[in-house]
């Protein structure tokens, strides 16, 4: 691979990382959600529309999409948070399916089957790393905060968390808002990098591979999804040489192997602590 190809691949890795953080934000509070794909779709098509049809500057489109994503996160949370684990995951998958149907049928707005163009102004390293840095900074600051501790508690055991005076639903609501804002930003950046978005740009495949990236990297620290996304984007490119177009075979195998043998992912602070401090009592997440 030449330098230009690597440059593109790594930029996409950056966008995937923001998507991954969006999934992580709700997974942190114990909710398995593919809604970020839906948030991404809504914001990307909104971005395309407000910049090309309405004529707003791209930066305003990004801000609008992030805010809209957060709002959408709140709405989604009210819709689905009453459900239990499996149902909740299913409802968010249903959202992704419905998102595609909406894109196909709101032709004036999204271009329908043909898709639509999006301005490439934000498709630069600066915006990509800026947004990623912002998302990571927010999550890093939240990690030790009251919210962060509450989120980890809710994830481990909602019943215990509740008995400690934490309201699991409101913690999860905050998770969804974060997820919505990150998903909104990621959708806009994705659109700006691709400069073209269609009904299949934001669909189950994106959701499942991003989820895979989160699991690969580790879903117990914000660094995990970022590393997972980079590995998951770069690895297929590396394998494309020897394996041709069927590089995803390795992706699939890797996913199964990781979840079986390394269930907490590549970035696992608990394992590091356990390795470092054998004999001492390990503090769990």
């Amino acid at each position: 691979m030449n330098l230009a190809a690597w440059n593109t691949t790594l930029q996409f890795a950056g966008v995937s990382a923001i998507f991954a953080l969006s999934i992580y934000a709700s997974l942190w509070t114990g909710v398995l959600s593919l809604a970020p794909v839906f948030f991404g779709a809504v914001s990307a098509f909104t971005f395309g529309w407000v910049t090309l049809t309405v004529g707003l500057p791209p930066v305003a489109g990004l801000v609008l999409a992030a805010a809209g994503g957060g709002l959408l996160g709140v709405l989604t949370a009210f819709l689905v948070l009453r459900l239990e684990s499996h149902y909740l995951a299913m409802a968010t998958i249903a959202l992704v399916l419905i998102g595609r149907v909406l894109v196909l049928n709101m032709e004036d707005f999204t271009g329908g089957v043909a898709g639509t163009l999006a301005p490439g102004d934000l498709g630069t390293w600066l915006w990509c790393l800026g947004c990623l840095g912002l998302a990571a900074y927010v999550l890093a600051r939240l990690r030790g905060s009251r919210f962060g501790l509450a989120a980890s508690a809710v994830r481990e055991d909602p019943a215990v968390a509740q008995s400690l005076g934490i309201n699991p639903r409101s913690v999860q609501l905050v998770g969804f808002v974060l997820s919505g804002v990150f998903g909104g930003m990621a959708g806009v950046l994705q659109a700006s990098f691709l400069q073209f978005i269609g009904p299949d740009t934001f669909y189950t495949h994106l959701g499942f591979t991003t989820l895979a990236a989160v699991v690969l990297g580790g879903a117990f620290h914000w660094l995990g999804p970022i590393i997972g996304a980079v590995v998951f984007t770069a690895l297929p490119e590396l394998l494309r040489g020897p394996l041709g177009e069927f590089d995803s075979i390795v992706t699939g195998l890797l996913l199964v192997v990781i979840i079986i043998y390394l269930p907490r992912g590549l970035v696992d602070l608990r394992r590091l602590r356990l390795l470092r401090g054998r004999g001492k009592t390990a503090v769990s997440e």
Binding site: I98, N105, F208
Partner: protein, 295 residues
């Protein structure tokens, strides 16, 4: 009036495939607690193997159908052994099997694409009699009858097997509590293999029938089925196999009727819209019972 009834029949035939697929999907979901995203690829593999058996080996269609169904079942068992059994042994919880099934999904889909290529084909015309049956002004294709008969047979057969036989009792015992089931003498490993085989074989059957009635066999045949089967399970309810079957039929009718009277573009929108409404208003499904939550 004839048109309405004709559309109902078409809807039933379409829905039969969803019902079949949904039944297998529900079996894994409710009895093994796995949201198996790879289930659609079992259908694909069933259809592909049956196609190879007909087109390349030259088997007659009924025999090829059996070969396809068994092949799908074997792939299902292998998937269970490779991806789910290690997690089960570790007691890995709810999310891990979903992730593992995503891995198997990517794997099986890509291999199908590699083996089969990206082109679509169809079963030979003479696979089943193609002459339409005319009855009281209605036109019914033999393939449609086959779909409906297969779905009814499998749904009721499976329901009876789960509620009336020793095998069914063993399955229910294991899904309630694997350890206690083992203590009272249920062979957990064998039962789980059998459930995995049955569910995947039913998916394979759905795949072959879907390929037959839509005249289209390709490596992504199972993906559309997965989404509709998933909708059938959610709408029908979590607890009962018959609910998924009934919902599958209903979704088929809904699709055909809405394509006829509203717009074919909104066909999927209506299906998935119903899915979301049911999930939010009645998460236990239309026919499910609210389960007592365990602390």
């Amino acid at each position: 009036m004839t048109l309405v009834i004709q559309q109902l029949v078409n809807g039933l035939a379409l829905g039969a495939v969803y019902a079949l697929f949904g039944v297998g999907f529900a079996l894994i979901l409710t009895k093994m607690g796995i949201l198996n995203v790879a289930h659609g690829t079992f259908a694909t593999w069933g259809a592909l193997v049956a196609y190879f058996a007909v087109a390349d080996v030259g088997l007659p269609f009924p025999l090829a159908l059996v070969v396809g169904v068994v092949a799908a079942g074997v792939i299902g068992v292998l998937t269970d052994l490779v991806a789910f059994e290690p997690l089960r042994r570790r007691n890995a919880g709810l999310f891990a099997p979903i992730i593992a099934s995503i891995g198997m999904w990517i794997l099986l889909l890509t291999v199908a694409q590699a083996v089969f290529g990206a082109t679509a084909t169809s079963f030979p015309d003479h696979a089943v009699p193609s002459g339409p049956i005319k009855f009281a002004g209605l036109v019914i294709l033999p393939a449609q009858l086959l779909n409906i008969a297969a779905a009814l047979l499998v749904a009721f057969g499976l329901h009876l097997a789960l509620t009336r036989t020793r095998f069914g009792a063993a399955v229910r015992a294991i899904s309630a509590d694997p350890r206690s089931a083992t203590i009272v003498g249920v062979n957990a490993a064998r039962t789980l293999r059998l459930v995995a085989f049955t569910a995947a074989a039913i998916a394979g059957l759905a795949g072959v029938l879907a390929g037959l009635s839509s005249n289209n066999v390709s490596f992504d045949l199972g993906e559309a089925l997965l989404l509709k089967g998933f909708a059938a399970v959610v709408v029908g309810g979590y607890g009962d196999i018959r609910g998924a079957a009934l919902a599958g039929f209903m979704i088929g009718i809904l699709e055909v009727v809405s394509a006829q009277y509203i717009s074919s573009g909104f066909r999927d929108a209506i299906t998935f819209g119903v899915l979301l409404v049911i999930l939010v208003l009645r998460p236990q499904g239309m026919f499910g019972e609210r389960k007592l939550a365990r602390a």
